[in-house]
Structures are given as C-alpha cells and as structure tokens.
Symmetry: C2
C-alpha cells in the first residue's frame, strides 16, 4: 500500500496529532477543506485556494481564519524539496451537542502534510481508464460547489471498485447528468468546444477547473458549462479530468461503455502544454 498517512498536523497553530472530540467537523461535517499541491516549498495556486476557502466560509457562515494566519501556519510546516500535499481543514469548531451553531464561533483549523500520492506521472501523458459509478450525487444548490466536509457520496462511490487499472469514477447527479469524478472535475471536448458540467446542484468548483477554463479563454478555445449526459460523454472527441494534484489527466477509456480506447486528444494536449509553460500544473515537463 502507498504511504498516505499524514506526516504532520498543525492544529490551531500547535503541532499535535489529535482534535477535540467535540469538534463540529467530526459531529456534522461542519466545515470545509482545500487540497493544495506544494512544489519545492511553494503552494500552487495558493491565492485561488484561499479565495475558494473564504467563499465557502461565507456561504456556510463560518468565520474565515484569514489568509495571513493560514500563510503563517503554512510557513511553520517543514517544507522539503520536491512535491507534497497540503490539506487545510477549517471547521465551525466546538460548541456543544445539537445542530445549532454556537452564538460565537471559534473555527478550528488543521493543516495536514501528506506525501505526494503515488500516481504514475505518465498518466498525464498516456491517459487513464475510468468507470461510471452507480452512486449518484445528491442535489443541493445551497451546498453545491463548496468543498465542504460532507463527502459520504464520494466515499461510497470510491468504494465501488478496487481495480488499480481504473484511475477514477465518474458520477452522475440525480437528473442523470454528469457532475464530476469522485475526486476530480470532468471536461469533454465536442466539435472543438470544451465543456464541463455546471455545478449549481452538486459537485465541487475545483481550483484546477477554474484554471483550465481560464486557459481556454486565453487560447480562444470555446468553453461552456452546462448539462451533459452519458450520451454526450460517449460521443465526446476528448475527455479529461482535473484537480490540483493530478493537473490534467486525459481519459482514454470508459470501462464498460462502448467505444473502446481513445488517444489523448489535441485540445487536451494543447491545454496541458500551455499550462505547463505557465507552471500551472503540478507536473513539470
């Protein structure tokens, strides 16, 4: 098994490895998180991660601990050369039994240092196989887009398969339209247009998803969000996945679906090359 346990935690500014048992993050999933690629000491897309976390805090009415404090605490983690993963969790803190938030919220913050995942780097070039998950994503406009801690749907979807040749599972919403992968955002390329599911009902507004949309605009590639079903997936000329750690993974096969194997396509490659030049992907070269 790969080493995935945390190397170190910084909890409310202290080096500890445990959290108060009354924390609302545990009791209700009452909080949010960010997963950040750190390369040679530099957290990638740092401002975008902080901005998304602040937006999520506003929507969940959790006081945002502030960019300065998180940046200071990031600096207190050892930062070896090479790549590692920073996970930041902010919860509504303690406050007693019951769903009602306490009148004065003292959010808890956890900075967690993890080893870089053992994904083969050539996935970004060779592409990956994916599957369609049975587990659906529920709808909730109030929570859609937020990277919150209520992630049982993703856990159940990810538990559907063990085959290491399948790199990711795609998830549908209740309406039968595509939303995302279990841990990634999804893009299709159809007739030269780059398309990604809208996130008004479910899903996480990924930092890398935004970066790709921006890159499309810079490259004058038509890009649109909308509702796309399995039919659009099967007809797509190119498919790729994004997140902050994987960057861009071309999809070359959907297990069980007709169509067989594809090659990573030209638009996916163009986007990847452009973003590598900008050092906007966690792979170099």
């Amino acid at each position: 098994m790969p080493l995935t346990a945390a190397l170190m935690f910084l909890i409310n500014g202290e080096h500890r490895d445990s959290l108060p048992a009354g924390d609302r993050g545990l009791h209700y999933g009452d909080g949010l998180f960010e997963t950040v690629a750190v390369i040679d000491g530099r957290p990638q897309h740092w401002q975008a991660h902080l901005r998304r976390m602040e937006d999520g805090c506003v929507r969940l009415k959790i006081p945002f601990p502030g960019a300065a404090m998180l940046e200071d605490e990031f600096g207190r983690l050892p930062s070896p050369a090479g790549r590692w993963v920073l996970k930041i969790i902010v919860t509504r803190g303690g406050g007693g039994r019951g769903y009602r938030p306490p009148p004065v919220v003292q959010p808890a913050r956890l900075l967690c240092q993890y080893p870089w995942p053992d994904y083969p780097d050539d996935r970004a070039v060779q592409g990956v196989r994916v599957r369609l998950c049975t587990t659906r994503l529920g709808s909730n406009p109030l929570l859609a887009g937020i990277k919150h801690l209520n992630r049982l749907e993703q856990v159940m979807a990810r538990s559907e398969w063990n085959d290491p040749a399948i790199a990711e599972g795609l998830m549908l919403g209740l309406d039968g339209n595509l939303v995302s992968g279990t841990m990634s955002n999804l893009f299709l390329v159809s007739q030269g247009r780059v398309r990604t599911p809208g996130l008004s009902q479910a899903g996480v507004a990924g930092v890398m998803r935004d970066q790709v949309i921006e890159a499309c605009r810079r490259l004058n590639l038509p890009v649109e969000t909308g509702a796309f079903g399995v039919k659009e997936l099967q007809r797509a000329e190119e498919i790729f996945l994004t997140n902050s750690l994987i960057g861009i993974w071309p999809v070359i096969e959907i297990a069980g679906a007709s169509g067989g194997e594809m090659q990573p396509g030209p638009i996916t490659r163009t986007l990847r090359t452009h973003m590598l030049e900008l050092e906007a992907l966690p792979q170099h070269g």
Copy 2:
C-alpha cells in the same frame, strides 16, 4: 446559554477528550451516530438504537463494533441518577488521504456523555411553535434513512432562526414535500389517519418514529408513510414531532403560515399517554 458541552468522552475504550486528526469522520463525515436518552442509568430503546446503528454500518460498509462492546463501554461511563444524553459515534477510522476506504477498516467509536438538554418539559403537553426552513434536504436514496455524519443541511437549516419561541424547523425535500424537522421526525394527523413522510430519498429513520408507528398499530390507529406537502401540513388536524430526547412534541403553530394556533389534539394525546404507560418516552408522568 445552556450547558451543552460534553461531560465525558470514551474514545476507543479510553477516557480521552480528543480524536486522531486523520479520522475519516472528520475528513469526510464518514461515519454514523446515535443519540440515546439515559434515565436513571438505563439507556432508552437501547436495542433499537444498536439495531439502527448496525443497519447503518452495513449500508455504509463500516464494520459494526458490536453490541457487546458498546454495551460494555456504556457501562464504563459514570451514570448519575436522572437524565443524560449518550451520543455514540462510529466512524470508518483512519487510513490516509483520499476518499477510498482503507483495505482494512478499523472503525473508531466515541461515546459522548452530555447533560440533558434544557427543553421545558411542558412542551410535551403544551406543544411547540415551529417554522418552515428555507434550506432543503437533498435527495440520495443510498444515504436516506441513515443517521450518518453528513449533517451540513441540518446545520444550515438550524442556523436560519434564533427566536427561542420557535422550537424546531420543518424541512422540505427537493420535490417540495415534507421530510422532517431539523432534529426530529414529523407526523401529521388527517381525517383520523396518522401520516409521516417516507424516507426513501432523504431524512433519518428515527428510533422514536418507529416507536410511534408501532404504538399506532397497537392502538389500531391507521398509520401510513407517503409524500405530503405544505398543503397537507396546513390542513392537518394534528401535527407532532418525535425524537429520542423530546419524545413527542405536539405542534401548535407554524410561524408565518395561515391557520393560527391549534391545541394538542386527541390522537397525539392518546399516543403520548399510551407510550408513557409503556415508559417508552423520556418524560415520566
């Protein structure tokens, strides 16, 4: 403010007040819980709580720690005379970053001892005022009914009001039908029939809800589950709420809705009297 902080935690059999920071209950809400009324040392409806927790573990594929172990650990908490609240949390334990459950799951268990909430006992007799929440409950058949740790919707709903005269908020599903209160199940009485929303899409299958349904059957009161909207709520002859701590609360007013104040109705009173005789409610007398 009422005292709501935990008096004591027993975590994996040890008296501690903190949990490993890598626990999946915190990271993903990957676990479930029970809230049990304890009266004079006796956990109420203990077998029903254990059964529901085991059912939830099966559905989430978390190994159930076993009734014997939980019962043993319950016995290791101090148990003062009178009433207190036992909250049991079972999570999928640790296992590294990423949604994928570890190949060998070592579930974590927390027994939390809380003071009895400061609800006025006369609410069970006089009834309560409620409101309709704006926050909707998302749909997910896979998770519906389970008392899992993904509770942001309830937290957001409960944060909608601060008026202490409003005891509970009612929540609708995405289809506009009633599901439950934020912390309770909902019953309507219409033309002599006892009705409660079905829980195939959302909501928690409450232990007290089951007790009330059983009581209806014993009393030969027609009882049915189904889809009921706000119209049925407004036309209902009686409305009441249930959970393991409140027992049965008659609803006497829906704030903001037409219709004004009602009195607790005869069927609600009959059910309450019957269940008090069986000592099936956490109020005596």
